[in-house]
């Protein structure tokens, strides 16, 4: 009832990580071992136990005032685009989005 190679291929496609056939085998083995490692958390009766998504005690309602860039974090264009491999003019550039039948939004 472990993950199959085909399922792992599907996860890799979703996660946008190209895997070779050999890597796919290793990944399948790894994921099944890792899932085995997680089994203890399925062994408790957790009925009525609230989850702790944030280890922050009672901290809540953290918000900031609607004030313009008091700390001047806006980046110069050169810095904003500086780490991008493909740009055109003032914009970031990506190749064809639908070439693979991916989704329009």
């Amino acid at each position: 009832m472990g993950l199959t190679r085909k399922e792992v291929r599907g996860i890799a496609e979703y996660a946008r990580i190209a895997l070779t056939e050999a890597e796919l085998d290793e990944m399948t083995t790894y994921l099944n071992e890792a899932i085995e490692l997680l089994q203890p958390i399925r062994e408790y009766n957790l009925t009525g136990v609230a989850p702790t998504f944030h280890p922050i005690g009672d901290l809540s309602n953290v918000m900031a005032a609607d004030e313009l860039d008091a700390n001047d974090r806006a980046l110069e264009l050169g810095v904003a685009l500086g780490n991008a491999a493909s740009t055109q003019g003032r914009a970031f550039r990506v190749p064809s989005i639908l070439g693979d039948g991916g989704g329009d939004r």
């Binding site: 790894y30 997680l38 702790t52 953290v62 780490n83 491999a85």
Partner: protein
């Protein structure tokens, strides 16, 4: 004059303030030491000599102008390479970010610099902090200063090694499941993971957002306390929603008496099969040392601790998948050339840019968050987190700190632990602290009788009681020093005094 590596952070700041030596002299000494020691240690991914000399000159100019100097005036500091510092690359030891120039400076780095610290560079780490040996760095290994055939631990292995080898006085690391405390133990230095929310995460490349916490390495508890004061002095960080207000004064109360305080031990854990005899012996020594300082030993239990590895490997990879989704090669990071579609470009960029462990963690996370799977692992893991947190609350009602190993063994040799599951299991004693969000600190106890390698003992404290935790750590250090087992402030012997004379 002595080598700069013989001085603690407080002594350097005091010496700079008094004019015994200048910040620039200290910076040059540190650069000299790095040059001499780095070929064998390789703790750094980038040495920022220019930034260091400029910062030191600014400190000297401030002194010359009669301005008040910061807590860390002239103290050479290194930063783990997942922390942004303008003027340096931030690579996370990954091909993905090999050429990534920091567009801003992380709050934790900024605070150290605001306190007058001199930035010496960026240290090696496991890629994106996934690992416990720094071996998954895409660029090179880092060698343990106590035995260069051994790993320095990880993921903050570069920071721990740089401090242990005397290349810098202080370093910052990040700890998601033990990544400060375990390398501190392996390298024989003090490493502190504060309570979640004490140090801002803004500008630190995220691994597990609900687990990550930044903290300092030093060669003494006092140096770590001083760094903590610098990190929290400016209050909570408005750029980090999870950051909380903590008063400074870590150093000021460090030497206060611990008479009547209690330390909890878990007898079952002491007998854990994974512990080597020398680690067990170190725990006994630590208990005796604390007893000598007037600390009472009580027995406590954390019944759900055994599940912390499972909970951690559900929560951590899920958050990691999510945090690393942004690395698609569009706005930053490696981009595969010549692709005709975006999906192809993204998948190939990520395939090239990420190493094996980074891929494994993201794949696991992508699976665990999937519809139908989320309810089986991620959600119950967060419920188990509640149970583990309650365990700690109950335990801390009976004691001020809990004593644990930082790692079941001393540093292992390169390549010795290659199986991911075996590597994950070695985190057993550190990760429950991240799950609950509590503070933890690793203090060197001495060298193992069998391996001759450093062993650290871990103290964990309740959330936002980090002052008290450091006081207990200092008591442990004092006790061990008094019994002659350790000499706080000392550098790994093979490297002490190599280069770095204060002219």
């Amino acid at each position: 004059m002595a080598g700069f590596d013989q001085l603690g952070a407080r002594a350097i700041a005091a010496g700079v303030a008094a004019g015994d030596f200048s910040a620039s002299e200290v910076a040059r000494a540190a650069l000299d030491a790095i040059e001499a020691r780095e070929p064998k240690i390789q703790a750094f991914l980038q040495v920022s000599a220019g930034l260091a000399l400029k910062a030191a000159a600014a400190t000297d100019a401030r002194r010359a102008a009669g301005e008040e100097l910061g807590l860390l005036a002239g103290v050479p500091v290194a930063f783990k390479d997942n922390m942004h510092l303008l003027g340096t690359r931030t690579t996370c030891a990954s091909l993905m970010l090999e050429h990534y120039e920091s567009p801003f400076t992380a709050t934790c780095v900024r605070r150290m610099l605001d306190a007058g610290a001199t930035p010496m560079g960026k240290t090696n780490m496991d890629e994106f902090a996934f690992g416990s040996s720094t071996e998954s760095s895409a660029f090179h290994r880092t060698y343990n200063p106590w035995d260069i055939t051994c790993v320095p631990g990880g993921s903050s292995g570069g920071s721990a090694a740089a401090v242990a080898a005397g290349e810098v006085t202080l370093a910052l690391g990040s700890d998601t499941g033990g990544s400060i405390r375990q390398p501190a133990s392996f390298c024989g230095v003090v490493g502190m993971k504060p309570t979640y929310g004490v140090v801002s995460r803004y500008g630190v490349v995220a691994f597990g957002s609900s687990l990550d916490q930044v903290g300092p390495f030093g060669r003494s508890v006092a140096d770590v306390a001083l760094a903590m004061d610098a990190l929290v002095a400016a209050g909570r960080d408005p750029f980090d929603s999870t950051s909380q207000e903590v008063p400074a004064g870590f150093l000021a109360h460090l030497e206060a008496s611990v008479e009547g305080m209690r330390v909890g031990i878990m007898p079952d854990l002491m007998g854990h099969e994974a512990l080597t005899p020398e680690v067990r012996a170190a725990l006994d020594d630590a208990r005796v040392a604390l007893g000598d300082q007037g600390v009472e030993v009580v027995e406590v239990d954390l019944p759900h601790m055994a599940s912390s590895i499972a909970a951690y490997y559900a929560i951590g990879p899920s958050e990691a998948f999510s945090n690393l989704a942004r690395f698609d090669g569009v706005r930053f990071g490696y981009q595969q050339p010549g692709c005709t579609t975006l999906a192809e470009q993204t998948a190939l960029s990520r395939a090239y840019g990420f190493g094996a462990e980074a891929k494994r963690r993201q794949m696991l996370g992508a699976y665990l968050l999937a519809a139908g799977v989320y309810d089986k692992y991620y959600y119950p893991a967060q419920q188990v987190r509640t149970l583990i947190t309650s365990d700690y609350r109950r335990a801390f009602a009976r004691c001020d700190a809990i004593m644990l190993p930082a790692a079941p063994t001393t540093a292992w040799c390169f390549g010795e632990v290659s199986d991911p599951m075996q590597m994950y299991a070695s985190d057993l004693f550190t990760i429950s602290c991240n799950i609950a969000g509590n503070g933890g600190v690793c203090v060197p106890v001495g060298l193992g009788a069998d391996t001759g390698m450093p062993i650290g003992v871990q103290l964990q404290g309740p959330a936002f009681q980090d002052h008290k935790l450091l006081r207990m750590a200092r008591a442990l250090e004092r006790g061990l020093e008094e019994s002659g087992r350790i000499k706080p402030g000392s550098v790994a012997p093979a490297f002490a005094g190599k280069g770095g004379e204060l002219a």
